[in-house]
């Protein structure tokens, strides 16, 4: 019997790792990967709560599925953006994309 808090801790840790990746990686693709990590962390929490609090309902799973969907869409569009930026600016480094500077 695994306590709920273990799952929540796992989710929190995964989330923090994702945050770290988002803030500190230079490559846009890497940033995207980190975002996926964060989404997974969220999903873990959703499913854990579903299992432990309301297993007879389907709210947790349903929202997990929605997060899955959103992640898929986000990855598709994000990668498309990255590739088009790479085509136009020949770089996928997030720091180089500072057209709004000053």
């Amino acid at each position: 019997m695994i306590p709920l808090s273990w799952y929540l801790l796992l989710g929190a840790a995964l989330f923090s790792i994702g945050i770290y990746g988002v803030f500190s990686r230079r490559n846009a693709v890497a940033i995207l990967m980190a975002v996926e990590l964060m989404l997974n962390a969220v999903n873990i929490n959703l499913v854990a709560f579903w299992r432990y609090l309301t297993p007879e309902k389907s709210a947790g799973m349903a929202w997990a599925v929605f997060v899955l969907t959103v992640a898929a869409a986000e990855a598709a569009v994000g990668l498309a953006l990255i590739i088009s930026i790479y085509r136009s600016r020949d770089s996928v480094i997030a720091e180089d994309m500072d057209l709004m500077k000053n």
Binding site: V22, F23, I31, A94, E95, M97, D98, K101
Partner: protein, 755 residues
Amino acid sequence: MTNETLTILTWLIPAGPLLAFFLIMLFTNRSRTLSWMIAWAGVFAALILGWIVALNTAAVGAHHLEEHPTVVASAFPWIPVGDFLKGTWINIGVAVDPLAAVMLIMVTFTVTMIFIYSVGYHNWSAPLGKILGVPNHLQEEPLLSRFFAFMSLFAGGMLLLVLADDLLLLFIGWEIMGFTSYSLIGFWYAREYHLGPDDIPHIPPYKASIKAFMTTRVADVVMLLGIVFFYFQFGTLNFNQAFTPENLSDVLDIIGPTAFGLMTLMLFAGTVGKSAQFPLHVWLPDAMEGPTPVSAVIHAAAMVSAGVYFLLRIFPLVAVASGPSGTDAVSFTIAGIGAFTALMAATIAIAQNDVKGVLAYSTISQLGFMVAAIGVGSYVAGAFHLITHGFFKALLFLASGSVIHGMEHGAHDVHDHHTDPQDMRNMGGLRKKLPITFWTFLIGGLALSGLPFITAGFWSKDEIFAEAWYLWDNDGFILALVVFVVLAIAAFLTAYYTARQISMTFLGKPRTPLAEHAHESNAFMTIPLILLAFFAVVAGWAGIPENFPVIGSMVNNHYVHHFVGSTIYKLMEELYALHLVKHPIENLPFNWEPLIASLVVALGGLFLGWWIYGRKPLETDQPDPVQRPLGPLYTFFNNKWYIDELYQRVFINPTTYLSEKVVYEAIDKKTIDGILHAIAKGFYGFGYYVKRFEEVVISGGVDWLKDGFLNISKEFRQLQTGRVQEYALISALIAVALIAVVLLINYGWLGQLFN
């Protein structure tokens, strides 16, 4: 057929053309073929349904109809008026009684014929070069879809008017026709004329359409006032509810004969405008600028008949208003206008040279016949002449269109685009060139001039004469005698100018190369002519009085009289019992005088016309034979009694002068603008000082402020690195910090967090 089915079918009659209009306008206006096919479908549906309904009505039988004239009556509440919670609604509804039935037969048939004809007519349109804005010869009409859309809308409006059971719906159909007639008369909107000296003077289509629209507006405003008056008095717009003996007598008692007559005349004004009676007839000849099918549908089948039909609809009102307890002014006005119009138009027609112009004026005069007949109180005769005239006048217009068409072909072949193909002086000898057109035109013309015993026109005119004579003979109604005489003269002239027209157009030998090279139109145009010719003859036989010598005993049933008469038979009986009308709908005894009169005028007129024009046909450029004998009278007729010029001087010039000089110059420019300029100057002065203040104080301060912000922003701009991650990090850190603060506040100090 059950009554419910009949009701549904009745509702569906106008639906077809209206639906066709929307379909063409919205979807198929790109495809010409699809458009006219849809239009055909609409009118054919209307034709079939209309005839089914009409024949079912006829099948009920006159005796039963006399008791219950309204076969189909269906209505539903439409507009809430006043205290509509109590259910005072204006209903929209249809009703079919014998009068509507005969109208349905005539209108649907002629309109369908005209639709068929239009396809053939428009596939080869007006000549090359002479006219702007219209397709070249042997080219297809570019706006065919629009044409058929408006024609369908027109047909729908007419059917709506015929089937309407109350004044409002009737007025709606009336106005729909008004608008569509405007847009159809001005169909070739880009036409401009460069008239030679000897050309027939005519104004371009767009002016003609505006003229028609404005003229009928004048009438319609009065008519609308009349409708309001009617509703105010009767409390309903429905004919069957309004025209009960009680209502009529009550209203007559309440408002008195004068006001009653006034109401009737206000409604009658609508007819004057729509049916082109004397003061307002000027729009109709110019309306000939539209394509010939439009002329046919406007001046024969639908629109002008609508006026008379409306007059027949409100006939009980007329009868009561001019009845024993009414005023004779009503009948004098109506019959007087009708008779005068008939005579005037006939006189004008004898001096016209435009083949369609002659027909236009003859239309006016025939409508005068009907109006006069109704004025003297002969209901059936008016209706009967309305129907027969619808048939043969549509025939005549279409045939004349075919003639013009042939002439234009000739014009194309000889490359002569300056001779007017509509001028009868340029025709002649077309009998060989256009055989079908000739024979059908001949039949129509004979019907118009009332060739005895065969044609429809004879029977309907004879009916009018008989009625008028009977009224004079029986109760010494002096007006009836006047009408009788005037109409007899008009009929004589009618026969005369018909013979003249046929002779000038078809007989003799061609006077111009155009006529030389003219040739017959295509089957689209000739087949409707033949069908219409059939009806132009046969339609009259339904109206042979049974007491007519020899023939009457053969037919032995005055069918139209009983059928149409049964519409208001019962009502008139009751009104007669109340001494509100002079006499009910009754069978006339046979009299020799009207018969002899109509025989004489018809045959005499025809013979005279033939004697002058047909016996030795005109040569090229030979002036009109009657020009010299008639002298100034001829020019007077030829210039249409100078009525247009009169209106120009009396109405239009003063109006323009008023608006130009008084309103624009004096009031607007001088007075109002003066005041405004004064105010403007004042504000200029004020504004100058405001400007100074603004320059010195405000903008100065703003500049100072701006510089300050500029300097500050120079410093702060460094913060904006344009890196997403930095922004995200900063915002996240701030959020984390906030959360931390909240938590610390919630949980007290860190010390007691983990216990």
